[in-house]
C-alpha cells in the first residue's frame, strides 16, 4: 500500500470525522444533530477498520451508531419539548447575554487546554520506546486460551472479570430503566412494504447473529456483535408495529436478562469448587466454556438492549392487552 495515498485517505477520513462531530454539535435542530451523530458513528467504524480493529468496527456500527442512534432518534421524535431550555431549567440561559458569552469562551478555552494536555501526553507516550509486554504475553498464551481470535481471548479468558462486570453494568442499567417507568407506546402497524422487508430481514438478522457468535472464536465477531444483531431484529419488529418483539414473558424474561451474569458466575464458581482459580478455565475445556458463556451473554445482551429501546418493562401480550393497545393506537394516529 502506497504510504502517500494512505496518508491522503487518513487525512480525508479524519477531516470527515471531525467535521461530522462539529456539525452534529453545532446545529440547534436536535433531529439533525442525532442523524449527524449516526453518520459520525458509521464513519468512525471505517476508521476502526483502518486501524486494524475489525471487532471494534463491527461493534461500533451495530451498537455505537445503530442502537445508540435508534435510541436517540426515538427520544428526539417522542418528546421534542424535552429539549427546550425551560423544561430543564438550564440557568445559564437566564441573565445577561454578556455573562453567557464570557462563560462560553471560558469553557471553550478550558476544553482546548484539555485537548492540548491530552495531545502532549500522547505524543510523549509515542516518542518513548514501545512496551511489547502485553501483546507478547497474549500471543504466547493464545494457544492455551481456547480461541484463536486475540480480542475474544482477552475479553472472555484473560480479562473475563472485566466482561463479567460489564454484563452486570448492562443489567443494572436496564433495572434502572425498569424502575423509571413503563415501556413507551408502540408504533402503528406497518404498511405492506415495510412489513415485507421485516418478514425476511428478521430471520436473516437472527442467522447472522448466530454466525457472528460462532465465528467470534477465530475471526472478528463475538457475543457483543451477535447480541446487537438480535436486538436490532427486535427493534425492527417493534418499529413495524408488531406487538411481539421476540422477548419472552415474565419469569423467562428475568432468567434471560440475568443469564449473562448468571452463567459467567456459575462457571467461575464451579471452577472454584474444582480447585482452579475463579474463571481460570482448564485449557482443554476453555473453548467450550467460552462458547457457553458467549451464548448466554449474547441472549442477555440482546434482551437488555431491546428492553433499553422499549424504554421500560414491556406490557404483557395477552389478548385483552393487545386489544386495549390497538384501540389506543388507532385513537392516537
Amino acid at each position: 500500500m502506497n504510504p502517500a495515498s494512505l496518508l491522503v485517505f487518513d487525512v480525508l477520513l479524519l477531516l470527515s470525522i471531525v467535521g461530522l462531530a462539529w456539525a452534529s454539535l453545532a446545529t440547534t435542530d436536535v433531529r439533525r444533530s442525532v442523524i449527524l451523530f449516526i453518520a459520525f458513528g458509521l464513519v468512525l467504524a471505517v476508521a476502526w477498520g483502518r486501524l486494524l480493529a475489525p471487532d471494534v468496527a463491527l461493534a461500533e456500527a451495530a451498537i455505537g451508531a445503530g442502537l445508540s442512534g435508534a435510541l436517540l432518534l426515538a427520544a428526539a421524535h417522542r418528546q421534542p419539548r424535552l429539549l427546550t431550555p425551560e423544561s430543564t431549567n438550564a440557568p445559564r440561559n437566564h441573565g445577561a447575554a454578556g455573562a453567557g458569552v464570557v462563560l462560553r469562551w471560558a469553557v471553550t478555552l478550558l476544553c482546548t487546554a484539555l485537548a492540548g494536555t491530552l495531545a502532549w501526553a500522547l505524543l510523549h507516550v509515542f516518542s518513548s520506546t514501545p512496551h511489547d509486554m502485553l501483546p507478547g504475553a497474549i500471543s504466547a498464551n493464545l494457544a492455551a486460551s481456547g480461541v484463536s481470535n486475540p480480542v475474544t481471548a482477552v475479553l472472555l479468558n484473560f480479562r473475563a472479570y472485566d466482561t463479567l462486570l460489564e454484563l452486570a453494568v448492562l443489567l443494572t442499567a436496564v433495572l434502572g430503566i425498569f424502575a423509571l417507568g413503563q415501556a413507551t407506546p408502540g408504533y402503528q402497524p406497518a404498511g405492506p412494504v415495510f412489513d415485507g422487508l421485516v418478514r425476511w430481514l428478521v430471520p436473516v438478522l437472527i442467522l447472522t447473529a448466530g454466525y457472528l457468535l460462532w465465528v467470534g472464536a477465530h475471526a472478528p465477531g463475538g457475543a457483543f456483535q451477535a447480541g446487537a444483531m438480535l436486538a436490532a431484529a427486535g427493534v425492527v419488529l417493534r418499529l413495524a408495529g408488531r406487538t411481539d418483539t421476540g422477548l419472552p414473558e415474565g419469569f423467562v424474561l428475568r432468567i434471560v436478562m440475568a443469564a449473562g451474569v448468571g452463567v459467567f458466575l456459575l462457571v467461575g464458581l464451579a471452577l472454584l469448587l474444582l480447585g482452579r482459580p475463579f474463571l481460570g478455565y482448564p485449557p482443554a475445556w476453555a473453548g467450550a466454556l467460552i462458547l457457553l458463556i458467549e451464548t448466554a451473554a449474547m441472549l442477555s445482551i440482546a434482551a437488555t438492549l431491546l428492553l433499553a429501546f422499549l424504554g421500560g418493562q414491556p406490557e404483557s401480550t395477552g389478548v385483552k392487552a393487545a386489544a386495549d393497545r390497538q384501540r389506543e393506537e388507532i385513537s392516537r394516529c
Binding site: L51, A59, L83
Partner: protein
C-alpha cells in the same frame, strides 16, 4: 513514532474537546447526551490509536477489548440517561 498515530491521536483529542464543550454548553438535554457520546467516541479513538502498532505488526488486543466494553457501557448509559430525561419531562409536566 508513526505519522498515522500522531494524526489519529490529535483527532481523538479534538473530538474529546468538542464533546466536552458540547456537554457543558448545550441547552437541550438530548444534545448534551449526544455530546457525551461524541466525547466517548474520542476516547475510544485515543485508545485504539495507542493499540495500533503499524501496518506490519498485529495490534495490541487489550485496548480493543477495553473499547468494545466501553461501547456497550456507553449505549447502556445513554439508554438510562434517556429514560431519566423522559421521567424528568413527565414529572415537570405534572408539577
Amino acid at each position: 513514532m508513526l505519522t498515522t498515530q500522531i494524526l489519529y491521536a490529535l483527532t481523538g483529542c479534538v473530538i474529546v474537546a468538542l464533546g466536552l464543550r458540547g456537554a457543558l454548553l448545550h441547552a437541550s438535554l438530548l444534545q448534551r447526551i449526544v455530546a457525551i457520546n461524541v466525547m466517548g467516541a474520542g476516547v475510544f479513538l485515543l485508545l485504539i490509536t495507542v493499540a495500533y502498532r503499524g501496518p506490519g505488526l498485529a495490534p495490541d488486543p487489550v485496548p480493543h477489548a477495553l473499547v468494545l466494553t466501553g461501547i456497550v457501557v456507553a449505549v447502556s448509559a445513554t439508554a438510562l440517561a434517556l429514560a431519566l430525561a423522559r421521567r424528568l419531562h413527565a414529572e415537570r409536566d405534572d408539577g
